[in-house]
Symmetry: C2
Subunit: 107 residues, 2 copies
């Protein structure tokens, strides 16, 4: 989760999930790790990048819109989404994007 995802040549899709957490863990970290593991097993999953300071940003990458839709409706993920709204997040925003181009740099 802490690496830059080695995504394929565009086009592909990204889900940008930006959030503010409520206070206390309340099972959040365990669920977050489980969701990353589960997402990575889904068809069309290409990678995920995540960091949190005041705001949390998680970007997951997917082959196409169908793979995003399928993941959104995964049963365990639906339960996590419900707890997200009920317990873990005070605010969040989800953006579905088509990655049109990319550029790499490394020393």
């Amino acid at each position: 989760m802490n690496e830059i995802s080695p995504t394929p040549k565009p086009p592909y899709y990204a889900v940008i999930f930006t959030s503010h957490r409520t206070s206390g863990d309340n099972g959040y970290n365990k669920m977050a790790n489980k969701m990353v593991e589960l997402a990575s097993q889904q068809p069309g999953f290409l990678g995920v990048e995540s960091a949190r300071e005041t705001v949390g940003i998680t970007v997951s990458y997917w082959k196409n819109l169908q793979s995003i839709k399928d993941w959104k409706h995964n049963l365990e993920h639906l339960e996590a989404q419900k707890n997200g709204k009920d317990i873990w997040y005070s605010v969040f925003k989800t953006r579905i994007c088509k990655v049109e181009s990319d550029h790499d740099f490394s020393i």
Copy 2:
């Protein structure tokens, strides 16, 4: 920089910049703050969200591809980009995306 950007109704564009820093500040934080301030003055700028743990993720939002191109070629930004490659980053990846849909939640 720590808030969730109140972007307009899609479509609009996002630049996802994911990076690993080299060790030491070396003027990085001063430049980063200056670039956020400068970017926010550019035509077509819609917002920016940023967090860093092991990996750093900065997502900036723009009205269209032209506004991204103009910002990329801004003279002060070009200098920051050069220092980014020479000094501040060991690895980075830039992804240009079209935001096709979004969804908000708040308690």
